[in-house]
Amino acid sequence: MHWETVIGLEIHVQLACDSKIFSSASTTYGKEQNTQASLIDLGYPGVLPVLNKEAVMMAIKFGLAVDAEIADLSIFARKNYFYPDLPKGYQISQYELPIVSGGQLFITLDNGIEKRIGITRAHLEEDAGKSIHDKFSGTSAIDLNRAGTPLLEIVSEPELSSAKEAILYMQKIHQLVRYLKISDGNMQEGSFRCDANVSLKPKDNTELGTRAEIKNINSFRFIENAINYEVERQKEILEQGGSVVQETRLYDSDAGETRSMRTKEEANDYRYFPDPDLLPVKIDKKIIEKIASSLPELFDQKVDRYVKTLSIKHVDATEIAKNIELAEYFENALNTYNGNPQLLANWLITEVMAILNKDKIDIASLPISAKSVSQLIQRIDDGTISSTIAKNIFSQLIESEMSVDELIKEQGLEQISDTNEIEQVITTVLNENQEQKDQYLAGKEQVLGFLIGKVMQKTQGKANPKLVNDLMVKILSNH
């Protein structure tokens, strides 16, 4: 039988708020255990939550960016279960009346087709703390620094039909929340995690099969592996005439497999009910309009502008816009640059990306300012240096405190555009390479490159290559 895979994703995005969603404690990652938790995060007797408005604004931003409806009235609910890293014995989340519902986004499939993926809802909630089971022998430890961290849970419709599509969707959401500056999207730090609901159904069958939920996957590679493993597992069961059990499964990235965590029968009854400590959130239309009018340019718009207004090649525009920080770096460089933006784009995609990849750093950690890059390209454009020299200077900029112009001056790297000086070198080169000169004069024009190379060598690459070329041809033609 031919099986169709049906996947729905629940993505937990940690919102980039300075303080927790219901307390004023800091959300800074990586601090000493249990130092970032206030009495509210610790669930002390008598304390009460107070909603962080910034988190609400961020949720609205997201909702608007995915064409969703923003609820004028939304409600926080308590999700009740016991676990030592859940201090209150309940998580404050949203159940009925989430803040965002009914959105959509488009993923671009390999064949170029745009596929619409529905977003069922996105709701605000607090994160739990962390249980640490492997650090102390015979005992578990609790770190509540993460408790109360604001999360936006984004739930997709079950409309993804392969691991590949799931990743495309996830990447799109990841890109979007970074564009909106509502999350740093840092997957290593757990700022972007995913649960996948996976089921199979016979092709053309409208009814969905029984699903398994794979919990807490925090990398694109793991989600691909986990879904592929799960699809194979379910296929095997179904083809042997068995039935899939509705359950929650964990992905073991070391073993590369999913394992049963709890079945439906063992599942918690969360006993959701509206949290009486928090008033319903009323969102004024005016606030929505204000946020809508201040939404940043998003990926598709950016690519479009790069292509149409800046005349950058589509493939390059996409490459730069893919990462909002890179795009911002590019635009910063562009601000102080008077030349062809494509040249700047080329430099970014080749030279800048090469350093980022080699040193495994992100653009924010690159010790070269956007202004330096624009200056460098400017110097190529105005003929001060050659692009070969520019590469040399670029690599020096990483270490050096000096500006582009200072480096050029200090090391005497200005391009030689003095005709007399170049003509002298050409004459010397032609004298030293009589054989190649004769070959050229006999009609073998390919050796021109060799001769020019010799000139560049003699000038340590400083000669203006175009000028060398012109003069060489001229001198040879006089022979």
Binding site: P45, V50, R271
Partner: protein, 489 residues
């Protein structure tokens, strides 16, 4: 022994008849002398705030407010920084909060002096003070009887003169019923009037801090210092706080009181009915007009309450797991056993009963039939009141079914115990302010009368009660017990 009102103490302090330190000592020694028979206090070994305790009468007090140097007691449900806050439970037997509840902080800031933490039903769940882990409180009018609950310790302390005034909380009648049972004045303000921050939660949508006092005037003096919006409590309301004590003499002539026929269906004893009739006459003499009204859904108050309150309690009390604070059993093998043992030993029977009830009504398959239904009925009860207040200023009714009953009489019959709150619960469900004030005695036991006002109209309640107390002296009657012990001195 004389019971001093807050008003009287203010005068004594300003006339320098007594110092704040002497007052503190006076009440401390009263507690030491008399509380053995009442058990009204759980914690009394409190260091008074030195700033307000200077014996040097010439030295200017650092704070000059109406409350500077006024001693008060607080129900042990209010978190007090550095002072044990047990909530009447073994679970919190050794819990010392690192912070003050907002109302406590506000009183402290104005110079009020905490005398002690009063006994209460465990987590405020009970109507007789018998569910306290620290033993029952005894009613100063008859030590074989309950002072009511859950703010029984506060009521007994004020009635017996062991504190001039006390804080309580009222979730279903926990201030008004004990006030009635001990012959004092008890106010539950509007939901949202006083901050709940630092009040150990029982049922969050119903809990409200209030006052047990000897008079409406004292109540007004404290309320104006406690009330008001608190950014730490999202359910507190940004509504201006009147200087209640300045408006107590306002004319009440022509005010209309509604008498809900559902409150007077013949189920009260004739003696209590006679007292109410007499108090209605008193109010008529003060120029009040009476009108019969109907609150058709009021009969559903008790069942509605016993769905909503346990539901919220089951969730509110989930944090008592022994992980971060509270009772923690040793030598436990696994997590489930850890939770079970801590909660089994840490909580008493009534608390467990309500947690289980609440867990049940929120469960999948029962939520709609119980919790959701109860919320709808709650809306109907709200609407009943809203409609009634279109034509009346105040609603009058009994506070309790009877006078204080004997300790042990109802503790094994939860339903009969729950019915105790039949007249008080509706004000909590609708979030309305309500007061109970004394109206007389039957067989030497005090009875109270309840007045309910529209939201944020506490002033109407205090205004009426104050004028009633100017023409009657029931609120000045002192418990026999302490009088006789004084006579023996």
């Amino acid at each position: 022994m004389e019971r001093f009102t807050v008003k009287a103490i203010q005068n004594m302090l300003s006339d320098k008849q007594i110092s704040a330190a002497e007052l503190f000592d006076l009440y401390s020694s009263r507690i030491a002398d008399y509380d053995q028979s009442l058990n009204a206090f759980i914690t009394t070994d409190i260091q008074p705030n030195a700033a307000y305790m200077s014996d040097d009468q010439d030295q200017e007090s650092p704070i000059d407010s109406a409350l500077t140097g006024i001693p008060y007691a607080a129900k042990d449900i209010f978190c007090t920084q550095g002072i044990k806050t047990t909530c009447g439970s073994k679970m919190l037997e050794n819990f010392i909060p690192p912070y003050d509840a907002t109302v406590v902080r506000r009183l402290k800031k104005q110079g009020a002096v905490l005398l002690g933490k009063t006994n209460m039903d465990e987590f405020a769940m009970g109507s007789s003070n018998e569910t306290s882990y620290f033993g029952s409180v005894h009613n100063p009018w008859d030590i074989e009887r309950t002072p009511g609950g859950s703010s029984g310790g506060s009521a007994a302390a004020v009635a017996a003169g062991l504190a001039p005034i006390a804080l309580g909380t009222d979730t279903g009648g926990s201030i008004r019923q004990p006030a009635a049972f001990t012959g004092i004045t008890g106010l539950k303000p509007t939901y949202g009037r006083c901050s709940r921050y630092g009040m150990v939660a029982f049922a969050s949508s119903l809990d409200q801090a209030g006052i047990l006092a000897l008079s409406a005037e004292d109540t007004a003096i404290f309320l104006e210092s406690m009330a008001g919006f608190d950014p730490l409590d999202s359910t507190s309301v940004e509504e201006p706080v009147p200087q209640y004590s300045q408006y107590l003499e306002e004319n009440i002539k022509g005010k209309i009181i509604g008498l809900p026929k559902e409150f007077f269906d013949g189920s009260l004893g004739s003696a209590y009915e006679a007292l109410i009739a007499e108090s209605i006459d008193n109010y008529k003499k003060l120029g009040i007009v009476f009108k019969e009204i109907s609150l058709p859904n009021i009969g559903y108050s008790v069942p509605t309450y016993y769905v909503v309150a346990p539901a919220e309690c089951s969730s509110n009390l989930a944090r008592y797991d022994g992980v971060r604070f509270g009772y923690r059993s040793q030598n436990i093998e696994d997590l489930d056993q850890f939770y079970r043992t801590n909660r089994q030993i840490g909580f008493g029977q009534e608390v467990k009963r309500r947690i289980i009830t609440g867990t049940y009504v929120l469960s999948t398959g029962y939520y709609d039939a119980y919790y959701l239904k109860a919320q709808k009925v709650r809306q109907l009860i709200n609407q009943d009141f809203a409609r009634a207040f279109e034509s009346v200023d105040i609603i009058l009714g009994p506070t309790t079914q009877t006078a204080a009953f004997k300790l042990g009489e109802k503790i094994d019959d939860p339903v009969s115990m729950y019915m105790n709150d039949i007249y008080t619960i509706s004000a909590n469900l609708a979030g309305l302010p309500a007061i109970s004030h004394p109206i007389g005695f039957v067989e030497d036991l005090p009875y109270g009368l309840q007045l309910i006002a529209p939201h944020f109209k506490e002033l109407n309640l205090l205004n009426l009660t104050h004028q009633y107390q100017k023409v009657t002296d029931w609120h000045q009657a002192m418990p026999r017990l302490l009088k006789s012990s004084e006579d023996n001195d």
